[in-house]
Symmetry: C2
């Protein structure tokens, strides 16, 4: 994100008026890791059964689509629950502001004190915000309830999950799609590369170096994939 | 959450000092829906193969554990990415505050203006916050970047996902565990009841009535489960 030194007042205003939140970082990482683990488990389950590569790819793709859809449905509903919760709390605060303005004024004052205001400025700022219903409700949602000031977008979150799940989930199938020999071993290696890649990529939004973030994600995803592999092998019996 | 009218100053302070965020609402709903869909798909895949109920339960539980672990790994890493992003942005803002204090002061002023302050109060409040590094960084994280003021907890988020996935995912297995006749049909009905129940329960945190939230979640989960059922049946061939 571009930063403000030397930027014009208009640029500062534009950015402050449209904060973006974390975007879909969590959804993408979550979906990609689960997609790679799940498909690898399917591959592990069917590869031992001596099926043709074409059948493995068909089964793998069908399962990736079905499981990605399930994840998208779960994330859509979960994110919508979070959005609905914010709207419910906004309604409650709006009601309290008209029913018990003195209690709400005390809350606003305490929030602004926590934000670093004191003395006459604190009292005057409390009066200004208490007199502005929208401003008061927004302040209490973030600072009384701890919500992000950006409203969650359930459909976009679901699409991010679905896309990341499909993309990462397709990778363990590639050696079978290409009909390579020793496809299962290649699939395991490529799944590991995906985990490392997810970790290295997300280090862009972190102070951790890429190799440590990559290594950590490889360890976490690899452990989950190992468990799924064992279960997948049992499943194939 | 209890509310403030008539509550003491100490109670107001305690609540304002420890906002909780949305908690784990999203993680629980997300995990529960995916758990029910996934297990139902496994049951659909193996029930047609004429396996004994004990084998179906064993395969189902193993898969629920493996898939729940995969979800937990994904959510842990995704939530950690969000937390790391917040820490990275805090470092950036701290640096900017010491390098380009005038630009940061303009941002703080714009944020406080958006919050409803104006005139002399706006200028004085800007001075107070600009003079307090921690307060300035916190203000910019929520209002420049749109982040929640509550730091995400990756391990707790992962455990919420895992628990919800396991609990909801165990339900489609119950008719097989009890050795009931017509177990698959019962499993389908109970999976539907779980979807409706998740929706009805989450309406507590919504202004939507329980039956509408329940019906919507039943429709979404049911559609995902239907796709998974079809894929599960193909998978069993």
């Amino acid at each position: 994100m571009a930063h403000a030194h030397g930027h014009s007042q208009a640029e500062v205003e534009a950015r402050i008026n449209a904060p973006t939140g974390h975007g879909y970082l969590r959804d993408l990482v979550y979906g990609a890791i689960d997609g790679a683990v799940t498909t690898f488990a399917i591959v592990a389950g069917v590869a031992g059964a001596g099926l043709s590569p074409a059948v493995i790819v068909a089964l793998g793709l069908a399962n990736v689509l079905a499981d990605g859809l399930s994840m998208a449905a779960g994330n859509y509903s979960g994110t919508k629950a979070e959005r609905d919760d914010a709207r419910r709390l906004a309604d409650i605060e709006r009601r309290h502001l008209s029913e018990t303005p003195e209690g709400e004024r005390r809350e606003i004052r305490e929030i602004l004190k926590q934000k670093g205001l004191s003395g006459d400025v604190l009292e005057a700022a409390t009066d200004q915000i208490a007199a502005n219903e929208d401003a008061a409700v927004r302040l209490m949602l973030t600072d009384e309830y701890g919500l992000a000031p950006v409203e969650p977008r359930p459909m976009r979150a679901a699409l991010a999950t679905f896309g990341a799940f499909l993309l990462a989930g397709a990778v363990p199938l590639i050696p079978f799609l290409l009909g390579l020999s020793d496809a299962f071993r290649l699939s395991a290696i490529m799944t590991g590369v995906v985990f490392f890649g997810i970790g290295a990529a997300k280090s862009i939004w972190s102070v951790a170096p890429w190799w440590r973030s990559g290594g950590e994600t490889l360890a976490i995803g690899g452990a989950a994939a190992a468990v799924a592999y064992i279960v997948g092998t049992v499943f194939a019996v």
